[in-house]
């Protein structure tokens, strides 16, 4: 899970909606183009945005992790989307029975590269958004524009805050029970269910008790009163409009270019 990285940058100052629109446009570009060069350019543009946002390291780490997944996409497409000239086969023809199976074709390789780059491009914007935007701001943007009631938005941030704490409690409970020779072995589903109790019971009780306490603390600080105000009000500023305009221009330009044949290549099919 990507976390917010507090830094001062232009990207950090953008309204969450601006960033969301930007990521949507990157998504559309990824779907419009299938030329690997154009897709790579799109990914590099995202990395450039990460650089401006001073979160390029985090972005590259995330993309690096995603390379593994895109590698799978590549292999999958190569093997199951053949077309055009056969370059070689995975099983050499000289072998018996499986000789000549799983051809690796020119079309397949090209398609594989394109699809894996497309996948990377689609997800590339996420780390930039998540590391430059406070979770609270994302949720407040939803409250403002989507008219989501504050209570629901609050539940979301509370979940984000307490998930790690609850996970930590579960981990402690697991350690405590393992210290009493608790071990989940075997495949028997009934036994697995029974084995749930030593972990589930304590966490349920603890969670209920603490949730009660938390509710009390919130009430004591006036939660639930009408007419709530907010310290930080998100406003669309000049920078936001400028960025939005720029991205829309890029989008329109790209779609026009695509219809003219740029950025799209013909991939040989079977």
């Amino acid at each position: 899970m990507m976390e917010y990285v507090p830094r001062r940058s232009l990207i950090h100052n953008l309204h969450p909606l601006t960033k969301l629109v930007w990521s949507l446009i990157i998504l559309i570009l990824a779907l419009v183009f299938n030329n690997p060069w154009y897709l790579t350019a799109a990914i590099l543009s995202v990395v450039l945005v990460g650089l401006i946002g001073k979160v390029v390291k985090e972005t590259l780490v995330y993309l690096g992790a995603m390379l593994l997944v895109s590698g799978f996409v590549f292999v999958f497409q190569v093997l199951f989307r053949p077309g055009g000239q056969v370059l070689f086969t995975v099983f050499p023809s000289s072998w018996s029975v499986v000789g000549g199976w799983l051809p690796v074709t020119e079309g397949g390789v090209l398609y594989g590269i394109a699809m894996s780059l497309r996948m990377l491009c689609i997800v590339s914007a996420f780390p930039v958004i998540l590391s430059t935007t406070q979770p609270r701001d994302i949720i407040m943007a939803m409250v403002d524009t989507l008219r989501v009631p504050y209570d629901y938005a609050f539940m979301f941030t509370a979940a984000l805050r307490f998930m790690p704490i609850v996970m930590s409690e579960v981990s402690t409970i697991s350690q405590a029970q393992r210290s009493r020779a608790y071990a989940v072995e075997g495949w028997n589903p009934i036994r697995k269910l029974k084995a749930f109790a030593p972990i589930a019971m304590p966490i349920v009780f603890i969670a209920i008790e603490k949730a009660d306490r938390l509710g009390l603390c919130m009430d004591l600080r006036g939660y639930g009163s009408k007419g709530r105000t907010y310290l930080h009000v998100l406003k669309l500023r000049f920078l936001d409009w400028a960025v939005l305009a720029l991205t829309v221009i890029v989008l329109i330009g790209s779609i026009v270019a695509a219809t003219q044949g740029y950025g799209r290549i013909v991939i040989p099919q079977k």
Partner: protein, 281 residues
């Protein structure tokens, strides 16, 4: 005689990169009563979790009762090392006190008769035999803590690790808890307890190990360790008030004092030497 715990140059690095233990070596003999102190984050809890295999060494060796811990599962080590976690509610899940204490032995696949015997024995040791049919959730915090001890005792461990028995506790419950642990020590268990409560350390522990930044800063008898107040100060720890009081007047009190009674006696001795009339005790 082989020591019951032998740790050599133990290093532990958490997945997030934190180097929590930086070369810890320690030997503990059977039957010792050891207090482990240090600020939060100094490595004390990380250290004790290596003794029953909850955490595995990055480098270094951990031997408990002659066995290499790295070659055993946590459930196997549970027969040798009993770990009482700080919050008993992290363990308690059964409907009756009896079942709670029987849970450990049941996991060890012992006979019904053996389990019954152990449960009765453990509950007797913590003074809760009369509550065996009660619901654990109905008990007071102090009782639940003792229940957790019984639940660990029923596994017949050689070593008992007690994690912060007095933190978040009522003073009396804390004393009861440590007195119980002391009785268990006298019955033959090796005891390690983690605490922040210095007067309790002075009262109960024979040996004190001080952790700082993943290393052992001091290791010695209680008197030796509390005698080195300036070293303790480097990790923002202080000996009990009474010890500090004596240390502030070294011309009168050259030795380390561990209790109020000791201090009173020593003061009276000093006064007598100076010709003051003293009422016999």
């Amino acid at each position: 005689m082989v020591p019951i715990i032998e740790v050599k140059d133990l290093h532990h690095r958490y997945p997030n990169g934190c180097h929590a233990l930086r070369g810890v070596s320690v030997t503990i003999d059977r039957g010792e009563f050891v207090a482990i102190i240090g600020q939060n984050g100094s490595g004390k809890t990380t250290f004790v979790k290596h003794l029953n295999g909850l955490l595995r060494a990055t480098t270094g060796t951990v031997y408990v009762n002659g066995q290499d811990v790295s070659k055993h599962k946590v459930s196997e080590m549970a027969r040798v090392v009993g770990y009482c976690f700080q919050n008993p509610d992290h363990q308690i899940f059964c409907d009756t006190v009896y079942n709670e204490v029987a849970y450990g032995p049941r996991n060890l696949h012992l006979s019904q008769a053996e389990i019954e015997e152990r449960v009765i024995e453990a509950l007797g040791a913590v003074g809760m035999l009369h509550l065996q049919a009660s619901m654990p959730r109905d008990l007071s915090k102090g009782q639940r803590q003792r229940l957790a001890v019984a639940a660990v005792l029923s596994m017949h461990p050689e070593v008992l690790i007690v994690d912060e028995p007095t933190t978040g506790q009522d003073y009396r419950d804390g004393v009861d808890m440590l007195s119980l642990v002391q009785r268990l020590n006298q019955a033959g268990h090796t005891v390690l307890f983690i605490t922040h409560d210095m007067p309790m350390v002075a009262r109960f522990a024979q040996r004190v190990i001080v952790f700082r930044d993943g290393q052992i800063l001091l290791d010695g008898t209680t008197r030796e360790v509390f005698g080195q107040a300036d070293v303790l100060r480097t990790t923002f720890l202080a000996p009990p008030q009474i010890t500090s009081l004596a240390q502030a007047l070294p011309e009168f009190f050259p030795d380390t004092v561990l209790s109020v009674a000791e201090m009173v006696d020593q003061t009276l001795a000093v006064l007598q030497k100076r010709g003051k009339e003293v009422r016999p005790s």
